[in-house]
Symmetry: C2
C-alpha cells in the first residue's frame, strides 16, 4: 500500500469528523475549535519498535497503548481529551500490522470519545508518535508544582503488575494474563484526573515508576517525599513475589499509567468520596516533607535503597 | 546524557514561555490559550534518518527543516504559527548531533516567533517528529477543496532547485550552494499564506512535487488542472539543465516548500499587488479545468508524460 492509499484507508476507518472539528484528516493541517473560556492541553509521546514494544506485542495492543499513554498525560493534567494526530513510520510490507494497529488505536479512541484529525505516514523503522489534544476550563488544570510538605501522596489502582508482566515475558515465562492486559492495554485515568482539578495540589501519571515520577512532583514543588513501600497497592500475583522483587517492581518498574497525586490531609473525607464515586481504589502511600528527594521506608520505618529510581532513556 | 538531563538542557535553550503559554516544557502536557474567536490549526510531520535526511546533512539543517516543513503546512492553511512540540528518538552518543540540531531548530523558531512548549525524548533510531500549532480567526483558513474550473494555478518562488541539489548530492557532485540552502533550510511562506486567506480558492504547500500536490487540490475540489511546464519559474542553474531534466525536477521532484494556490482570474490585479507587497515572485503556471487529473503541456501545447507524479512513500 502506498502512503496515500493508507491515509485514505485510515480516514475511512476513523469515520466522520466530530464535535469541534472544522477540518479533519486530508488537508495540510486540521482546524479545531475550543469553546469560549477553554484552554488547549497538548502532549506527545513516541513508541519505538525494539524499545517500547516488540514483535511479541500484538499490533492492536500497540495501537491501544500509543493512544493510551498520551491520554494518560492529559488525564494527569485534568484535561478532557478531544482529538489526536498519528505520525507513523512504517517499514515495507506492514499492511497487516498497520490494519491491526489502527484497529486497536481507534477502538480506544471510540471508547474515550476522541477523534483522529490528522497525522503523517512515512517510510522508516517502525515507530509511532501520537499527539493528543484536550481542553480544560481556563486556569483549571493540574500540574506537578503545587505539592506542599504535609500533603498525602496518593496513587490510583494497583502498581507493579505491568512491570511484573514485562519481566516475566522477557524471561520467556507466561505471566498472569491480567498483568499482561495492564501492560499492553492501560486505561488512562481521565475521569479521575478531571475530578482532581481544584482538589489535588499536584499530579503526574506513573509511566517511569513511582520513585522517578514522584521525584518530578517533589522537584517541581521544591520539597521532598517519604513513601512507605509496604502500603503500595498490589495485585495477588504481585504479593506472591519475594518482597524485594515486589518493592522494586512497584517503585521503579514503570508502565503503570495510574495517577499519583498529592492531597491535603485536612480533606481526607473528600478523597473517600471520590474513591467511592469512581469505584477506583485510591491509596495513601506516603507524605510530602520538607527538604529534597524521595525516601522509601519499610514497615518498620527503616530506609530502603534501590539501584535505579525508574526508567530513563540513555541517549 | 540521559533523557531528563537532555530535556532540562533543551528547556534552557528554548528560553522562557511566551504569549499564550500557561504551562510550557516540563509537565505532563502543555497548556495553551487562544484568543477569543480563534481556532486552532495543528499539523505533524516526521523526518527519519536514512529516509528524509542522512549523515551528510548538517544536524542544524535537520533541526531547521523539521520545523520548517511543519510551519509550511500551517502556511498552506493561512494560519499564524504559535507553538510546537518536538518528539526525538535518539541513538546512543548523540550529544553533539542533538546540540547542533536543537540550535537549528530554535534558530528558525526565534525567526518565526514560535515557542517550543513540550515533547518527548526516547531511545531509538534517529527520528524527529514536530507537531506545529497555530491560530486562525474562526472560519478564516485555506483548504484544498475550493478550486473551481477557470481558476489560475499559481506558485510562489522558484521550483526544482531543492530536487536538483538532492540529485546532485546523491550523485556525489557539488551542487549550486543556493540550491543546497533551499533543500536544507526552506523558508515557510507564512506571510503569503496569511495574505491568501479569503482570496485564494484553494492552497497546498509543495512538498511532494507540483503534479502530486496540485493533484490533491484537484481531487479535493472535484476538478482537473492543466499545467504549462515551460511557465514554471526556475533558477539559472535549473534553466541550464536539459529541458526534460528540468521539467521532471520541477513537476515531480518535491521538497520545494513553496505554496501552490488557485486564484480567480477576475482578481488578477490583487495578485500583482500581493507579489509586490511581499517582494515574492508569484507565477501563474496553469489553470483548473472541468474533469479529473492533471495534464501537463509543453510550450507548443503538446501533452507531456512523467514516470512518477511525485514523491510517495512505499509502505
Amino acid at each position: 500500500m502506498n502512503e496515500f492509499a493508507l491515509i485514505d484507508w485510515i480516514r475511512g476507518q476513523a469515520g466522520p469528523a466530530t464535535s469541534g472539528v472544522s477540518l479533519g484528516i486530508g488537508d495540510d493541517a486540521a482546524v479545531l475549535a475550543l469553546a469560549p473560556g477553554e484552554s488547549l492541553v497538548v502532549t506527545t509521546d513516541t513508541l519505538n519498535s525494539g524499545v517500547h514494544f516488540g514483535d511479541y506485542d500484538p499490533a492492536d495492543s500497540v495501537g491501544h497503548k500509543a493512544l493510551a499513554v498520551n491520554l494518560s498525560d492529559l488525564a494527569a493534567m485534568g484535561a478532557a481529551p478531544r482529538w489526536f494526530l498519528l505520525s507513523l513510520s512504517l517499514p515495507k510490507d506492514s499492511d497487516a500490522w498497520v490494519k491491526a494497529f489502527v484497529g486497536g488505536l481507534l477502538g480506544l479512541a471510540r471508547t474515550m470519545n476522541v477523534a483522529l484529525v490528522g497525522g503523517d505516514t512515512t517510510a522508516g523503522k517502525l515507530s509511532v508518535t501520537v499527539t493528543a489534544l484536550g481542553a480544560t476550563r481556563q486556569g483549571r488544570f493540574l500540574s506537578r508544582d503545587g505539592a506542599r510538605p504535609g500533603d498525602w501522596v496518593v496513587v490510583s489502582g494497583e502498581l507493579g503488575d505491568a512491570a511484573l508482566a514485562l519481566q516475566e515475558l522477557s524471561r520467556g515465562r507466561s505471566p498472569d494474563p491480567s498483568g499482561v492486559e495492564k501492560l499492553r492495554r492501560p486505561i488512562p485515568r481521565v475521569e479521575l484526573g478531571a475530578t482532581l482539578v481544584g482538589n489535588a495540589t499536584a499530579c503526574i501519571d506513573l509511566s517511569d515508576g513511582l520513585l522517578a515520577d514522584l521525584g518530578h512532583i517533589a522537584g517541581s514543588s521544591g520539597c521532598g517525599a517519604v513513601v512507605e513501600a509496604d502500603r503500595l497497592p498490589g495485585s495477588e500475583s504481585l504479593r506472591s513475589c519475594p518482597v524485594e522483587v515486589r518493592r522494586a517492581l512497584q517503585l521503579t518498574g514503570g508502565d503503570d499509567y495510574e495517577l499519583c497525586f498529592t492531597w491535603p490531609e485536612a480533606r481526607r473525607d473528600e478523597l473517600a468520596g471520590i474513591e467511592s464515586d469512581l469505584g477506583l481504589k485510591l491509596s495513601v502511600v506516603g507524605r510530602m516533607v520538607e527538604g529534597r528527594g524521595i525516601r522509601c521506608l519499610d514497615s518498620d520505618g527503616q530506609p530502603l535503597a534501590f539501584e535505579k529510581q525508574g526508567y530513563s532513556h540513555r541517549l
